[in-house]
C-alpha cells in the first residue's frame, strides 16, 4: 500500500474520508488509489439508495457520481465534529447531490412522451404548447396544494401513530399513481427546497417549460396531472382515517 502524504496514516485503506478527499484533490501519486478506496467504501451503500429510481439506472448513476466525486474532490467540505455515522451520511448526501444533478441532466436530454400515450391513458387531447399555457401563474401551484391540504388536514405532528399511518398511506398512494403522474410529481419535487418554507416554494418558469417539453404537454396539463396525483394521495389518507373511525 502506498504511504500517504497527509495525515500520517500508513495506508490508503486506513485513511479517513477527509484524507482520501485531500489525496484525490491533490492529483498526486496516490490519487487513483485514494479514489479506489473511496469507491470501495461507498459504492454499495450509495447504489442501494439509488436502486429504486424510476428509470432503473441506479447502478450506472452510482458509478458516474463516483467518477464525478474524483473530479470535484476539492469541493467536499468535511466536518471534524461529526461522528463516523454522521460523517458517512454527509459523504453520501454529497454524492447524492452530484447524482441528482446527473440524473436531472440526463432527463433533460430525453424526449417527452408521445402523443399517443398522452391521449390513451387519460382521454385528454394532446395540446400544443401555447404561449399562454407556457408558464404557471405565480402562486397557482401552491394554491392548489393548499386546497388539497385543507381536505387532508386532521393529522397532527403530535400524534406519532397518525404520522406513521399517514406515511403509510402516502406510500400506498404513490403505488396508485400512473407512470406519468409519478414522473411529473418526481420532476416537481426534484426542485423542492426543504430549507424554504412552503410559501416560498416556486417552480421556476424555465423548469415548468422543461417539464412540459419533456412530457409533451402544456402547463395546464401539467397542473391537472399533478392535481390528480395529489388527489390520489389525499384519497388514500382520507380512506385511512375513515377506516380508523
Amino acid at each position: 500500500m502506498t504511504s500517504l502524504q497527509t495525515g500520517g496514516s500508513a495506508t490508503v485503506s486506513d485513511a479517513t474520508d477527509k484524507q482520501l478527499f485531500a489525496l484525490m484533490a491533490a492529483r498526486g501519486d496516490d490519487d487513483r488509489e485514494a479514489w479506489a478506496e473511496f469507491y470501495r467504501r461507498y459504492i454499495d451503500d450509495f447504489r442501494k439508495i439509488l436502486q429504486r429510481l424510476p428509470q432503473g439506472r441506479g447502478d450506472e448513476l452510482a458509478q458516474e457520481a463516483m467518477i464525478q466525486a474524483y473530479e470535484r474532490a476539492n469541493t467536499f467540505r468535511s466536518d471534524d465534529a461529526l461522528d463516523a455515522d454522521a460523517s458517512r451520511r454527509r459523504t453520501l448526501a454529497w454524492l447524492g447531490r452530484i447524482a441528482r444533478n446527473l440524473y436531472v441532466s440526463s432527463l433533460r436530454g430525453q424526449r417527452g412522451v408521445t402523443v399517443g400515450s398522452l391521449t390513451g391513458e387519460d382521454g385528454e387531447e394532446a395540446l400544443r404548447l401555447s404561449e399562454k399555457g407556457r408558464f404557471l401563474a405565480r402562486g397557482e401551484l401552491h394554491r392548489e396544494i393548499e386546497e388539497l391540504e385543507a381536505k387532508v388536514t386532521g393529522t397532527t405532528d403530535d400524534d406519532e401513530d397518525e404520522i406513521s399511518d399517514y406515511r403509510r398511506s402516502l406510500q400506498e398512494g404513490l403505488d396508485a399513481l400512473t407512470q406519468r403522474e409519478r414522473d411529473i410529481l418526481i420532476a416537481t419535487y426534484e426542485h423542492y427546497d426543504s430549507a424554504k418554507p412552503q410559501q416560498q416554494q416556486r417552480l421556476p418558469p424555465a423548469v415548468v417549460e422543461e417539464i412540459c417539453q419533456r412530457h409533451n404537454i402544456n402547463a395546464d396539463n401539467l397542473r391537472q396531472i399533478r392535481k390528480r396525483a395529489y388527489q390520489k394521495l389525499a384519497r388514500m389518507a382520507e380512506k385511512d382515517s375513515q377506516i380508523e373511525s
Partner: protein
C-alpha cells in the same frame, strides 16, 4: 403536505437524498424493504473505471490556466503550502499570479516549481505567465478611465524589492538567475 410528499418520495427511493437527514431517512426506509441484489463483481471493482480518472486529468491539463492561486485552491492547497513548495514568497507568488513579473526574465526552474506545485504542465504555466498583467480581484477605482497597469518587473528586481524574503531564499533565487 409538500414536505410529507417530498419525504415519502425520498423514502420510496424516487428522489435522491441531498442532505444527511434525507440519507438517514432513505436508509431507514431501505431497511424495511427487500434488499437489492448484492453488489456484482463488475460494479464492486473500481479499477474498471480508473481510466476515466485519467481522462479527467487529461482534460484538466488541456484547460488553460486561469490563475496560479486558483489552481492551488482547486488542489485545496493553502497559500503557505504553495509558497513552501515553490520556494518563493507570498509577494512573489501573487506577482506571478497577476503576471507582474516578466516571463522572459523568470528562471525555468521557478516555472517548473510553480507547475509542480499546482499540478499543471510547464507549458500551461508558461502560457499563463506570458499573458497580459492583470489587477488584483479586489482592486477598484473611481476614476473615469481605468488606470494603466505598470510594466511587469524583471524577476531580479522583484526578488530584490521583496522585503518579505529571507536572505537565504533571496540568495537562492538570485543564484538561479545567474545560472541561466
Amino acid at each position: 403536505m409538500d414536505e410529507r410528499i417530498y419525504n415519502a418520495l425520498i423514502e420510496r427511493g424516487w428522489l435522491i437524498p441531498q442532505t444527511e437527514e434525507e440519507v438517514e431517512r432513505a436508509e431507514r426506509a431501505l431497511a424495511r424493504v427487500e434488499l437489492p441484489p448484492s453488489l456484482s463483481p463488475e460494479l464492486a471493482d473500481p479499477y474498471r473505471l480508473i481510466h476515466r480518472l485519467d481522462e479527467i486529468k487529461a482534460r484538466e491539463n488541456r484547460k488553460p490556466l486561469t490563475g496560479i492561486l486558483n489552481a492551488a485552491q482547486d488542489l485545496r492547497k493553502s497559500d503557505d503550502e504553495l509558497v513552501e513548495e515553490t520556494r518563493l514568497s507570498h509577494v512573489l507568488v501573487t506577482m506571478f499570479d497577476l503576471r507582474q513579473i516578466k516571463l522572459s526574465t523568470t528562471p525555468q526552474k521557478v516555472i517548473e516549481r510553480i507547475a509542480s506545485a499546482i499540478r499543471k504542465t510547464v507549458e500551461q504555466v508558461t502560457e499563463y505567465l506570458g499573458g497580459e498583467p492583470r489587477f488584483a480581484v479586489s482592486a477598484n477605482y473611481k476614476a473615469e478611465d481605468a488606470p494603466a497597469l505598470d510594466e511587469p518587473q524583471s524577476f531580479a528586481d522583484a526578488v530584490l524589492d521583496d522585503p518579505t524574503l529571507s536572505d537565504e531564499r533571496r540568495e537562492e533565487l538570485l543564484a538561479m538567475i545567474e545560472s541561466v
